[in-house]
Amino acid sequence: MSQSQYVQSSAVPPQVAGGQEALRARDIVKRFGAVTALNGVSLRLQKGEMLGILGDNGAGKSTLIKILTGFQAPTSGQLTINGEDVALKSVDHARELGIECVYQDLALVPGLSIYHNMFLNREPLRAGPFRLLDNAQMKRRAAEALEDIGVNIPDVNEEVARLSGGQRQAVAIARAVYSKAKILLLDEPLAAMGARESGLILDLIDRLKKRADLSLIMIAHNYAQTLEVADRIMMFQHGEVTFERASAETSVPELLDVVRQNYKVVRGGA
């Protein structure tokens, strides 16, 4: 297997300076009937680190996200979060443990205001017997949350349907960060976005990286952008990790070489 030279050992990834482990996944397997979406994936995320995961469509990136967010259970394998072995029971359970995800579809509701979206399914209620929404509190805290990550949207009453792609992304990220995320998963945050707006989102991600209490995993397919922003790179191909290295020690040509080698293996071998 020619790709093995690139995998330094998926069980023991290279250490990033300082800190403890935020997340560890060991030998995660996920099968859907006869299809194996993930075939023994292991990864480790240090506190405060940003891990970039690259791969083509069908490489297993989305399945990994669904497992890390508790949306689906793995067929086998073990997750360890903050040093404790856990089996995630639901999205809510993962959230309690500080795992948040900004999905590619952003999970925003176009017909609702920014502040309602920011508190979707976590709405604060007013005191009293009627369990009414505390809209005033939501507006205030939504504005604070956006300001906190340095995003300037003048009016939190605006319907999400009227926002640009970058604004929506920023709202989704602010929502995740505000909900006390310790591990934040970003699923293709720069997909379908123009150069100017993706630059703004990369700036935003840079600011998030400076938070010592936040660990990030970014799923992407743009090698250059991911190398620029991530501390460490993992590459997924057909449900396996085929490459892993600190961003500083690799380059776009090397990543492309891995992909090329791997295609040769798949087409020649299987």
Binding site: D92, N121, P154, R162, Q167
Partner: protein, 339 residues
Amino acid sequence: MSAHTHKPAQTELGTKPRPHIGKRGLHGFLRVREASILVVAILLIIYFESTNVNFLTDANLQTLSQFISPWVVIACGEIMLLICGEIDLSAGMVFALAPFIMYFAHDAGLPLIIAFILAIIGCGAIGFFNGFVSVKLRVPSFVVTLGTMFLINGFTLTISRGFPVDTPNDGIFSFLMGGGYAEITWAVILVLFMHGMLRNTRWGLHTIAVGGNLLGSAESGINVTKIKIGNFVITGALAGLAGILEASRIGSTDPLAGGSNMMFMAVAAAVIGGTSLMGGSGTIIGGLFGGLMLGVLQDGFTINGINAFTFDMIIGAAILIAMVFNIHFARLRNMGKLK
């Protein structure tokens, strides 16, 4: 945007600032979806009052309120369903069945109020069945409720043997359910209650979320199944309540009451009032105004002696115009052309 550029570490994603409140005026009013349909209804009232002095009399207002009330009560449920992306075609048949459940329960010796509660629970159970088959067995609700529409109609005709019965009557209950303006009072109270629920509770917010982004709502941890089935239950119960209100007013429980025409008028009131058939947006107050407009049209044409066929053509045109208007009005708003 220039007002914010002094903050260097900010990501500038701002929209243009909105115009000042004073400048918004008419446009601000038109942004409230419900307002435009209320204006149409009021113009129609003025028109009919100017062409016929009998329009705004107590007797005619009672008649008008009796047209509108059942549509509006059923529309309250249908709007919740339409918002979360579903529909209930069986509501008009549940409307006819409910007073029979009450009649038979009362006939078996139960107090009327208990019989009433049983009937509402029974109609809620039909709603649950509609919702369960739609959501859990993944049959589109249009098809599921098309099936239950025929099924319930046949059931009502069977248990009644096709003949009307006298609605049970015991003074206070009958006054509360069937007095002169009782139906419209119920309708307005329900509209206010349901409007508050849609705008100010988690249930309402999650109903909009489920219709606007089903997968996203599930990813946010919203129990999508519970929201959808719950709204089917609400629709069933409200359709049953509307049927009992009508049967109490008339004093007779008719197996041929309601029907699919009743259900379609409720859906028409919802759509004309600004609820989208595509899900994700809607308004309960708008349903009241939509029902008011339809009622004023029907009543006004009746007392002016215009033929029922013409009325159907006008309702058809009104629904089409309302839908075109809604879709393109929403598009303009989203493009920021209307502020």
